[in-house]
Homo-oligomer: 220 residues x 4
DNA sequence: CATGAATGAGTGTTCATTCAT
DNA sequence: AATGAATGAACACTCATTCAT
C-alpha cells in the first residue's frame, strides 16, 4: 500500500476535525462562558453544521471537557525536563521559564484556559479537580523546585516558598486572565514581555540574598 | 411619634427587598455565572416568588447590573482619605491598606465580584468599562500614590510603578478569585491573613532601597 | 371563608389541567403512537402552549405514563362487586358485564388504550407489566370467576377455562382495537351492540351443557 | 455452463439484499413502531451501512411499505385452493386451516405483521386499505366460504356468519398480537398449538347443529 | 456497489418574561 | 405588593437523507 501519499481529503478532514472543533469551542467558551455559548455558533465558527459536532462529541458537556483536556496536554511535559537539565543560577532559570511560557502558552489561545476554568470550576467540579492536579499543582511544583534550589545554593533568602510561588505566578495569571476578560473591553495593556521582565526583576530582588556569600546562614 | 423604634415590618421589608434580591443573585451569579443562573433559583434563595423579581428589576440583565453596581461600595473613597492623612512610612501604609481590605472586602461576599466581573466582562462590556474605571483604575491609583510617596522619600527604590502595582495586587486578587472558583472544589488554601502578610513582606523587601540614605540618588 | 362559591377560574383551571392534557394526549398517542406524536400537537389540541405541558408533566414519557395510569384507574373497580352480588345465571352475568363494558369503556376514549398499550408495550416494558397486572390479569380473573360459577352449577360444560376466557374476550378486544386502527381507514363495521350480542350468543351456546341436569357429570 | 451451482456470492448477495433489509426492518418496526425505529439500527441489524439502505429503498416510508407488502405472501391463494379441493367436513377443514396457518404464518416473523399494521394503520391509511383488502377481506372470505358450506350441509347451525368469523379469528389474532407486544414483557403464555385446538373445539361446539339430520330446517 | 461523513430540519426541553388574580 | 400559572422564543440534541469517495 502506498503509505507515502497524503491521505484522502476525507480522511485527513476526519482526523483533524476534533481539534478544529475544540479550537472553535475554546474561543467561544472563553468569550461567552459555557452556558452562554450556543453550539450553532461553535459549529459555524468551525465551518461545519451543528450535527457534525455530535459526530465527535456526545454532548455540549463532553465538548467542554475535551476543550479543557486537550488544552492541558501539551503543557508542563517538557518544563520539568528543562528544570532538571539547567546548569545556571535559579534566577536565570526562572527567567527562562517565564520567557518560554509566554510565547508557548500565555500568548496562545491556550492562554484563555485559566479564565475559562476559573469561570466554570463550580459548574464542573470534577474537571476542576483534574485541572488542579494536572496543571496547577504540577506547575507550582516546578516553581517550587527552582526556589528550593536557589535557597539551598544561597542565591535566595530562606523565604516562605509557597507564598513566593504565588507572588511569582499571580501576576502571570492575571496577565492572561485580564487579556481574555476586561482587557478585551477596556483598552490595551502594557507590552507583555517588558511587563513580565520587570515583574521578575522586582521579585528576584525581593528574593535575593543581601548578605555576602560568606556571612549567609544556611537555611534550616 | 416614636422615631426610635424600627419601622413596621412591612415597610422595612419593602425597602430591604432589592438588597435581599441582589444578595441572593450575587451568590448565584458568582457560583454559576450569568447564563447559568436561573431566576427561579434567585427567587427561591431570596424567599420570594419569581414574579416578585420583576417588581424590582426590569430584566435578568438589569438585575445583573444592579448586583455589580451595588457591589461597588464607596470604600475606595475612604481609602484615599486614609492615604492622604497617613503619617507613617509607605510600607506601613501598604500594610494598613491590605489589612483593611481583607475583612472589609476580600473576606466578604463582595470578594466574589472580581471573579464574576472577569467571567462576564465580554458579555457586558459597558458594565466592564464602568467597573474598570470605578474600581480598578481608582484602586490602582491608590496604590500608585503610596508607591510614589515611598519612592520620593527614598524608602523604595525607583521601580517601574505600574508593574509594582500589579505585583502587589495580583496575589490579592488571585486569593479571592481562587476562593470563589477552584477553591470551592479543590480543597482549602493556607490561612489568608498570614499569607497576605508574608506576601507583603516579600514585596516590600523587593521594593526596599538597599542604599543607605546618604548615597541614594534621587528618582528622576 | 366562603366555601360554597365555585373556586376562582384560575384555580379551577389548574385542577382540571392535567386531565385535559392527558385527554388530548390519549387521542394523539392512540392515533400516531408515542414517537409519532409531537408535544406541540398535544398542547395545541388541549388549547395550551407547549411550555404548559411541562408545568404538569416532567417529560413526554411522564405524560405517556400518566395517560395510561389515569386511563386504568376507573376500570374494574366496580366490576368485581357486581359479580359477587349477582344472583342470576352465569350466562346472564356475562351478558351484563359485556353490556356494561361497552358504553362505559369500549365506546369511550378509553377504548383506545388497548391499541396504545399493544403498540408501545415493548418501548415501555415497566408500564406494560403494570398494565398487565392492573387490567388484564384482573379482567381475566373476573371472567374466570363467572365461568367457574357456571361450570360448578352445571350451566356450562367443564371446558378449559383459560381458553374460554380468551374466546370470550378476544372479539371484544379486537372490536376496540379495530376501531382505533384500520377501522379508522377502512370503512365502518357492523353495529357494535348487535355484534357483541351475537358474539355472546355463539359463545354461550358453545359453553352450554347439552346434557339434561340429571345426567351431568360433576366437573373434576 | 453449470446451472446447478449456487450463483456467485456477489450476485446472490445482491439479489438477497432487499429481503435481508426488510427482514431486519420488520423486526424493528414490530418492536419499536415506525417512528421509533432508527434506520441506523435497521442497517446495523442487517449488517450493512446506513447508506446502503438508500440503494434499495427511496425512503424510510418506502422501506415500511416494502416490509408490509413483502409480508403479504400469496399464501391466501393457496388457502382458497385447499378450500375448494377439500372433501371432508367443514369442521375438519377449519381445523386444517388453523393447523396450517400457525406454522406458516403465526409462528413466523410474519406473525408480527398484524401488530405492526394495527399500530401504524392511521399513519399509513393507503397501506392499511391495501392490507385490508389483500389480507383481511380475503382471509375472512376464506372462512366465510367454509362456514357457508357447513351451514348448507347442515353440519353447522344457521348462525350469523360475519360474527362467527370474528369469533373464530379474533383469538388467533390476539395470540400473535400478544406475542409481539405485552407477551414480550409479561411472561410467557400457554402452549400455542394446544390453545388453538381448544379454541376450535369450543367454537365448533358452538356452531354445531344440535338437531339430528332429519329435523334440521334448511337455512333461509 | 458500498460506505460513512456531513447535513439541517425537526422535536423535546428550558427558562426569561408577562399578567390575571 | 405579591403570586404563580401561562407563554413562546431559544437551544440542545436526533435522525432521515445526501453525496463524495
Amino acid at each position: 500500500m502506498d503509505v507515502f501519499s497524503p491521505p484522502h481529503t476525507r480522511q485527513r478532514r476526519k482526523d483533524a476535525r476534533p481539534a478544529e472543533l475544540t479550537a472553535a469551542a475554546l474561543e467561544l467558551f472563553v468569550e461567552k462562558g459555557f452556558a452562554g455559548t450556543r453550539l450553532d455558533d461553535v459549529a459555524a465558527r468551525a465551518g461545519v453544521s451543528k450535527g457534525t459536532l455530535y459526530l465527535y462529541f456526545d454532548s455540549k458537556e463532553a465538548l467542554f471537557k475535551a476543550v479543557i483536556q486537550e488544552g492541558i496536554v501539551p503543557i508542563l511535559e517538557e518544563g520539568s525536563g528543562v528544570v532538571e537539565a539547567f546548569k545556571g543560577s535559579a534566577g536565570e532559570l526562572l527567567r527562562l521559564m517565564v520567557d518560554e511560557w509566554w510565547p508557548r502558552i500565555g500568548d496562545t489561545h491556550l492562554g484563555g484556559l485559566p479564565k475559562l476554568m476559573i469561570s466554570e470550576a463550580r459548574n464542573f467540579p470534577d474537571l476542576a479537580n483534574y485541572y488542579n492536579e494536572a496543571v496547577i499543582v504540577r506547575g507550582k511544583d516546578l516553581i517550587r523546585s527552582i526556589l528550593k534550589r536557589g535557597i539551598a545554593s544561597g542565591e535566595f533568602r530562606p523565604v516562605d516558598v509557597d507564598t513566593a510561588i504565588d507572588v511569582i505566578l499571580a501576576p502571570l495569571l492575571m496577565q492572561v486572565i485580564w487579556r481574555y476578560s476586561l482587557g478585551a473591553c477596556c483598552g490595551a495593556r502594557h507590552d507583555a514581555r517588558m511587563y513580565l521582565h520587570t515583574h521578575l526583576d522586582l521579585v528576584l530582588r525581593g528574593l535575593a540574598n543581601a548578605l555576602p556569600p560568606g556571612k549567609r546562614k544556611p537555611p534550616e
